[in-house]
């Protein structure tokens, strides 16, 4: 194996700069893209996708030395008197960074197609790059203050993305988002300041930071209050009930933004933060002895059921998906708070699995809306015949969400269930089962409607489809002419071809949903990596 050896050498020489380079790459993209003129589409896409690919490659190269050999590249620089900014690569960091950079590459490709011919694209992609900067920075943060900086940065740079369309509805939604996220951020800020006062710069350490564990033993009251402030603030982005209000409202954002809000960036930043606080700041044992994990577990369970129930009642597809996110992200929190190796691993794996599945669903929802202007669940009749590839991807994503084998969703749900049985809270298994039933109840009818209902042969719809499909209609019509059968003719008439730029990322994520589930037992798969991390957490 030449490459890992070479990589190790490179890491030794320039090791401390690797995480910095990762962060700077995204900033560079933003700095280059902002001043570009609207028309320079090709240059902008090249910069965007080129840098995204470089990041994917860098993360992939980092995996063997970090996960297998235990190298920990670290960069630190003084920030405030007595406080350093620390960027460090550990398996959990790499786990989250891997998810971000991979899905980011796909979302960027999707967004290039999605925004074709629309305005303010330089601004959009500039903030898009800043957003990935924040996510990569979050994942590599080595201490609480660094984490906090990137966490707040994420809030600020997603605001213009949510408000992108510039109409009153989106500005209102963006303002609501900002209100929630900033308040949560402030709570985290105060918690971090307070904790730093007592425990110094809180370095993320597997099993809990030294000073914090000490504090939790000596001053359980204060440690509990600080924990509540930290996790309470993070729970806003994680959209834990009752702090989820911003998430469904933010649905007005462009589809790629929704996809990244739900799959990688914002909600996951919150979930990742909760993982860091419980596992690497307090340490599971200290947190458990404070007695804060069980209430959090209950809240997460309530959120899982609440989100699923409300999703059932939504007629708007994107809103249904949004509430589904509310419910699914709390699985991660359940996994972390069960205090069990398998459950923790299951929760961590769900961090990645849910990301891949949800992004597939949002890509599909974006495609339906763009190509056929379908927004409501009731309008989805017969979509399986009109947009077969997209519908197939949607079906795979939905099956993953329900947790059917062999999808990725099955792997994490199974392990969560196992963990629940092994833990002190076996009743959580019932919550998981109920939620699965609810998931099925709100996804299966959609899938059924798509495939087994005849498409509405509305003239208007057909015309819309023809517009968006870039004249693909004529080719289809020619095919249809061969057949004398009326019905077949209709079918050809309604089938539309999706734009390739949008379809390819969707197909890739759909394949990943199944692929990740199938390879779960291979080394370096998300599940195996999650298991290694979880074992590290429990010593």
């Amino acid at each position: 194996m030449v490459i890992p050896e070479l990589m190790e050498e490179v890491l030794e020489v320039s090791g401390r700069f690797v995480p910095l380079v990762m962060v700077l790459l995204s900033v560079t993209a933003a700095v280059l893209i902002f001043p570009l003129r609207e028309q320079s589409v090709r240059l902008r896409s090249t910069i965007n996708i080129g840098l995204a690919v470089i990041k994917v490659v860098l993360v992939a190269l980092l995996v063997p030395p970090v996960v297998v050999e235990g190298v920990r590249p670290e960069f630190s620089t003084p920030f405030l008197p007595g406080l350093d900014l620390v960027l460090r690569v550990d398996p959990l960091a790499l786990f989250f960074a891997g998810l971000s950079v991979l899905l980011w590459l796909l979302t960027t490709i999707y967004a290039v197609g999605y925004l074709e011919g629309k305005t303010h694209r330089s601004r959009f992609f500039g903030f898009f790059s800043l957003c990935v900067t924040a996510t990569v920075g979050l994942s590599f943060s080595g201490n609480l203050i660094t984490f906090l900086l990137f966490y707040e940065l994420l809030t600020l740079v997603t605001y213009p993305l949510v408000a992108h369309w510039g109409n009153p509805a989106s500005v209102r939604a963006a303002r609501l988002y900002l209100r929630y996220a900033l308040t949560g951020g402030l709570s985290v800020l105060v918690g971090v300041v307070w904790l730093t006062m007592h425990a110094g710069p809180v370095d993320f350490t597997e099993g809990g930071a030294e000073g914090v564990v000490e504090l939790a033993r000596q001053e359980p009251m204060q440690a509990t209050v600080i924990f509540v402030m930290l996790v309470g603030g993070l729970a806003v982005k994680t959209a834990i009930f009752p702090l989820h209000g911003w998430l469904p409202a933010a649905m007005v954002a462009p589809a790629p933004v929704s996809a990244l809000l739900h799959a990688v960036a914002v909600v996951k930043a919150g979930a990742f933060g909760i993982v860091r606080v419980i596992d690497d700041v307090y340490g599971v044992e200290a947190a458990d002895s404070l007695g804060v994990l069980s209430p959090l577990l209950v809240m997460a369970c309530v959120t899982v059921l609440f989100g699923s129930y409300v999703a059932l009642r939504q007629q708007d597809l994107k809103r249904r998906l949004a509430y589904s996110t509310v419910s699914q992200v709390s699985y991660i929190v359940i996994g972390i708070t069960l205090v069990d190796v398998i459950a923790t691993a299951g929760g961590l794996a769900h961090l990645v699995h849910q990301g891949i599945m949800k992004i597939t669903l949002f890509f599909c929802a974006g495609l339906f809306a763009e190509v056929l202007h379908v927004h409501q669940v009731s309008e989805m009749r017969g979509l399986g015949r009109r947009m077969p590839w997209t519908s197939a991807a949607f079906t795979v994503g939905a099956f993953g969400m329900i947790g059917l084998p062999p999808t990725a969703g099955f792997v994490s749900k199974w392990q969560l269930g196992q963990g629940a049985l092994a833990s002190e809270h076996p009743w959580v298994l019932l919550v998981l089962l109920a939620s699965t039933l609810l998931n099925a109840a709100y996804f299966l009818p959609v899938v059924y409607t798509m495939w087994f209902h005849a498409p509405e042969l509305d003239d208007e719809d057909g015309a819309d489809g023809a517009d968006a499909a870039d004249g693909a209609e004529s080719a289809d019509a020619a095919d249809g002419a061969d057949s004398a059968d009326d019905e077949a003719d209709d079918e050809a008439e309604v089938a539309v071809r999706e734009p390739k730029v949008l379809l390819i990322p969707t197909a890739v994520t759909a394949v990943l949903v199944v692929g990740v589930g199938l390879i779960a037992s291979l080394p370096l798969s998300p599940w195996e990596t999650a298991r290694i991390i979880a074992e590290g957490v429990f010593g």
Partner: protein
């Protein structure tokens, strides 16, 4: 006299000299000279900053070779260097803006074109705008034109005054510098045309009253210490506390009240709103970013270097910090209720001023709930004050950068569209992406969100407040942050929203939009970027402020 020492002198004297020269020149050479000065000052700053920040030395210059208490001493320690840097950086950016866009320097009255053709762009010598009374009674009333050449001598003199305050090693020079700043600032406000004269007059009264109180305070200090030099006076007061204490406390009170007037601490803030909001576009940023920093600097100097802290100051510190807290909350709430951009930003200044006075609470010592003895807490009294000082200075500097960018952008919009009413400016941000970006960046700084110098400042201030057991200050900071984010979103979001119907969009002549070249967007954008970049300088600032610190 070393190179660094000459630079120290030149930082004060060069702008003053150029100001005197420009006063007798026509408009165009004034601009050229002003820009030239702005190019030289950063060069002069470099050696001073190098000696203080890198070598950790205090730079001293006894003018004319006379040592204090007889002579005048210029002295650059860490605190001076920090504020001096702000003055030079922001001053240079605003000079560039004013040079590119002379329209922004005010409004002058000229005779109607029929009487006197469009020849004299700048009236020869007068440093004051021509009184309107002369033009008004004539058959043809005077015509108001944008751009005022008097901006240059006034601003350069103001700059010199600012640097004098920041570098002064003795109290009398501080007074002179502050007076120069105050008087020129009043005149600069008056450049805004007839509508701003009333505001300028109010400002004049406040400025004179503030200076007067300072002068009395300084007189008292001299009478008990026998010296004007800051360090010597401080030493005398520390050595002989019993006999000097009552007079010293009285002097401190007088100076504090005077400076609170000048810095517009609630409830003395009413003069600031019309003055800062009504001033010309190139002047508002100067006033908010630099001019009110001079009294803040004087306060820090007197509180920390001259009059030693003590139990008898408890009432004063409580009053000051309560006023500070009231300013943070009240100013923000009032800012939320504004309908116009520039008054909103002016109220934001009022709110920000409040943060700098929370410092008084930390100087007043820790309250009973001090968390000493808890694990990990090893903060001494001096640490509380020093980290509060770093926090306050970081917030003041961060505010300077951010507010300058914000006011420049708002002023530009007001000049271009003829209004700064936020409802009417709906959607104009789409024509000025750079400007909106600058406003966004500076909003991050003003709200004190990461990454910005204000955030570092808030962090240090919060740390010091918690260490001293003043948990209420944390609450104030949190509320202030939420409110400021709210009013900043209110200010910026409408610029991004597309007009709901085309009819209500603000119209702007084609040539004006063309005129709004990329160059004019550059100074606010640079200042906005600096707001963010400076956020990484928290540790540097902390080190810098230990140079020549009283502990």
């Amino acid at each position: 006299m070393s190179l660094t020492q000459s630079a120290l002198g030149a930082l004060v004297l060069l702008p003053l000299l150029v100001a005197a020269v420009t006063a007798v020149l026509p408009h165009t050479p004034r601009r050229t000279l002003g820009v030239g000065t702005a190019l030289v000052l950063p060069v002069l700053l470099a050696p001073v900053l190098w000696s203080t920040a890198v070598d950790g030395d205090v730079v001293d210059l006894a003018l004319g070779g006379y040592e204090p208490p007889l002579g005048i001493r210029l002295r650059a320690d860490g605190l001076s260097a920090a504020f001096l840097t702000l003055s030079v950086v922001v001053g240079t950016a605003i000079t560039a803006y004013a040079a590119v866009l002379p329209h922004s320097t005010g409004r002058r009255i000229v005779s109607p074109p029929t009487m006197q053709p469009e020849g004299p762009a700048g009236p020869g010598g007068g440093a004051q705008p021509e009184p309107a009374e002369q033009a008004a009674p004539a058959d043809r009333p005077g015509v108001w034109r944008p751009g005022h050449p008097s901006f240059w001598p006034l601003w350069l003199a103001c700059w010199s005054g600012l640097n004098a305050v920041f570098l002064s090693g003795d109290l009398f020079n501080t007074y002179v510098g502050l007076e120069l700043v105050g008087m020129t600032a009043v005149a600069l406000v008056a450049l805004g045309g007839r509508s701003s004269w009333q505001a300028a007059l109010r400002y004049l009264f406040v400025a004179v009253l503030g200076s007067l109180l300072l002068l009395i305070g300084i007189g008292l200090l001299v009478s008990i210490t026998g010296t004007l030099d800051v360090l010597q006076a401080g030493a005398v007061l520390a050595d002989a506390p019993e006999e000097t204490r009552p007079a010293a406390v009285l002097a401190l009170c007088l100076i504090t009240v005077g400076m609170c007037l000048k810095v517009a601490l609630v409830p003395f803030h009413t003069w600031l709103i019309p003055a800062h909001a009504g001033a010309p576009s190139a002047v508002s940023p100067l006033l908010s970013a630099l001019v009110i920093k001079a009294p803040v600097f004087v306060l820090l100097r007197v509180w920390l270097w001259v009059v030693p802290a003590g139990e008898d100051l408890a009432v004063l510190t409580v009053v000051l910090s309560v006023m500070g807290a009231a300013a943070v909350v009240g100013g923000s709430v009032l800012a939320l209720r504004q309908t116009h951009l520039k008054p909103l930003i002016a109220y934001s200044t009022v709110a920000q001023v409040g943060y700098w006075f929370l410092f008084a609470a930390m100087v007043g010592g820790s309250s009973s709930g001090s968390p000493e003895g808890l694990p990990g807490v090893d903060i001494t009294e001096d640490d509380v004050v020093s980290s509060a000082l770093v926090g306050t200075v970081a917030m003041a500097l961060g505010h300077g950068l951010a507010k300058a960018a914000m006011f420049l952008a708002a002023g530009f919009l007001k000049d271009l569209y003829g209004t700064d009413e936020m409802d009417r400016l709906r959607g104009v941000g789409q024509h000025h992406p750079g400007l909106v970006m600058a406003m966004g960046l500076s909003a991050v700084g003003l709200a004190g969100l990461p990454i910005s110098l204000s955030f570092s400042g808030k962090w240090m201030l919060t740390t010091s407040a918690v260490a001293a057991g003043h948990y209420w200050a944390v609450v104030v900071i949190v509320i202030g942050t939420i409110l400021s984010a709210a009013y900043l979103v209110r200010a910026i979001a409408p610029l991004l929203v597309e007009s709901e119907d085309e009819g209500t969009a603000v119209e702007v002549p084609e040539w004006q939009l063309e005129h709004a070249s990329v160059l004019t967007q550059l100074p606010p954008l640079v200042l906005g970027l600096l707001t963010i970049v400076a956020g990484f300088g928290g540790a540097l600032l902390g080190d810098l402020l230990t140079v020549g610190a009283p502990w």
